[in-house]
């Protein structure tokens, strides 16, 4: 027989938390992929929308920002440049919104069954990571004929930015999920925040746009964690020059946000049920 002691409020991560999380791996998988099935089961093209949605979105951006506003002159392979940014950004914002939804929508699950709540942001992340990888599957089919970009040995480097970015994304998801419980309004703010983040990151525009701008602007643009991750992704997928400094900043951002996000989430998960 197991003894479970629920002492007053938790100040640190309880012992055995991560083991309990590991024991829920099948639950996480079911939540992540059950969502995918549920979400698209009623659409005719089904899971194909995973790929089509970001592609259509990129199409709109390409037309408006690339062609009409002339952004494509900034990069010889603007479509590839744009696709990497849109996909990676969708992965993050999708997980942030998804984590919040898991908490607010999973109300009864949370008040009924005791399980480590990190299951929820993790499932949200895995769902969006899968959608991200599925969308990337279409990448070379598009950019090879249009931008003549082909996979090179650098593609083997892809797991590195993917892992670091995923750590960061999970941390952001946990942070959003932790905040959405006491402050429901976060749900309305997150989409605008991520959109702002998207526009401020060099995705629709290229770095030459800020040449000659004030130093603080230059510093701000490069301090943006997404900028670091995108630099590494573009190295892996588009064979852009590898700059070690972005590997260092990516790793730093990934570790700091993951540890902080998960720590604050777990600290507060015991009081979650009283707000749902």
């Amino acid at each position: 027989m197991a003894t479970r002691t629920a002492d007053t409020r938790r100040v640190s991560i309880p012992r055995g938390y991560f083991r309990a999380l590991w024991e829920r791996r099948w639950f996480i998988r079911e939540l992540a992929f059950g969502n995918i099935m549920g979400k698209h089961a009623t659409d005719m093209l089904g899971v194909l929308w995973w790929v089509l949605n970001p592609l259509m979105m990129t199409g709109v951006y390409f037309l408006v920002f690339g062609v009409i506003l002339g952004g494509r002159r900034g990069d010889p392979a603007f479509l590839a440049y744009l696709l990497v940014g849109v996909f990676a950004m969708r992965y993050m914002s999708g997980t942030m919104v998804g984590s919040a939804k898991m908490i607010t929508g999973g109300g009864k699950l949370i008040t009924t069954i005791a399980f480590p709540r990190m299951v929820l942001p993790l499932a949200a992340m895995i769902e969006d990571a899968t959608a991200f990888l599925a969308a990337l599957g279409s990448f070379y089919f598009l950019v090879a004929p249009i931008n003549s970009i082909w996979p090179t040995w650098w593609l083997l480097f892809f797991p590195v930015p993917f892992l670091l970015h995923s750590m960061f994304v999970l941390g952001m998801g946990a942070l959003t999920a932790r905040l959405v419980v006491p402050i429901r309004d976060i749900r309305n703010v997150v989409p605008h925040l991520t959109r702002m983040w998207f526009y401020l990151t060099p995705i629709l525009w290229t770095l030459d746009r800020i040449e000659g701008a004030a130093t603080w602007i230059q510093v701000m643009v490069k301090a943006n964690p997404m900028f670091s991750f995108l630099s590494l992704y573009r190295t892996a997928l588009m064979s852009r020059p590898f700059e070690p400094v972005y590997l260092a900043t990516s790793a730093a951002w990934a570790v700091v946000i993951l540890v902080f996000g998960v720590w604050t989430f777990i600290r507060h998960e015991g009081s979650m049920a009283r707000y749902l």
Binding site: A6, R10, E30, T111, A114, I183, G270
Partner: protein
């Protein structure tokens, strides 16, 4: 007024399945918990003492009823025992595997089929994939929902959802089953079936904790009643005595 009767504490630690002391839960409206403005806003929201120092002991192999009016704190107490809600103060010790049927029906994902929801429910409690695979068919069979198992849960009647939830809760053969006001669901035959399942559980030294304000269930299934009101234990004792007291107070309009 009877006042809080202290529950006798068992001498040996093996004697109880659940032992809680001084459980206190305070709800605040969530807007008062904005981290940065917490100090400013926390004074504006009224605090609700859902549980105000509750002691509860469930000896192994007994079934306990939690009696009280709506809003007395029954559901909150069950959540604390289930481990889904961390109390503000107090200690809860639980021995054995818990299964909950709290506020039935909505712990599920409506877009998914009944079968997949059974998977979700079992996996959430920490069962392995193999254990769950072995349980899915027995659960569906017990629920008696038939072919509806492969239809989305959205298409179910509330009675069918409740049957499914009850089937999950009992088929997992937990050591402790927590039930929150559901016994009125389902038709006659299912009610008989569910009562039998609950008695079986108690017979194999399992524990039942039922929260309700329906007195009949307590007489049928419980050996001990804990009567709570406004977050405090009013009386603990055998069903006959406590229910009599409770009735008296209800009639007199005291509680």
């Amino acid at each position: 007024m009877t006042g809080a009767t202290p529950t006798p504490v068992p001498t040996a630690p093996e004697d109880y399945a659940i032992h809680g002391q001084g459980i206190r839960v305070t709800y605040r409206p969530y807007t008062s918990k904005v981290p940065l403005l917490g100090k400013v806003l926390s004074s504006s929201g009224p605090e609700v003492h859902a549980l105000d120092g509750v002691d509860i002991t469930v000896p192994v192999g007994t079934s306990i009823g939690i009696l009280g009016r709506n809003g007395a704190g029954k559901s909150t107490l069950l959540r604390v025992l289930a481990g889904t809600l961390m109390p503000d103060a107090g200690r809860v010790e639980v021995r054995g595997r818990i299964s909950t049927l709290l506020s039935l029906g909505s712990g599920f994902n409506g877009d998914l089929t009944g079968r997949r929801n059974v998977w979700l429910g079992c996996l959430a409690t920490g069962l392995s994939r193999e254990e769950t695979a072995d349980l899915v068919e027995p659960i569906l069979e017990f629920s008696g929902i038939g072919e509806a198992a492969d239809r989305p849960l959205n298409t179910y009647s509330s009675g069918m959802v409740a049957r499914l939830a009850f089937a999950i809760g009992t088929t997992m053969s937990p050591d402790i089953l927590l039930i929150d006001e559901i016994l009125s669901v389902g038709d006659e035959s299912f009610r008989d079936k569910s009562h039998r399942a609950m008695r079986d559980l108690v017979d194999r030294a399992g524990n039942l904790v039922i929260a309700s304000h329906r007195l009949k269930i307590f007489r049928e299934l419980c050996e001990q009643i804990v009567w709570i009101d406004r977050g405090k234990v009013i009386e603990v004792g055998d069903p006959k005595t406590v229910i009599k007291e409770y009735r008296k107070h209800i009639k007199a309009g005291i509680v």
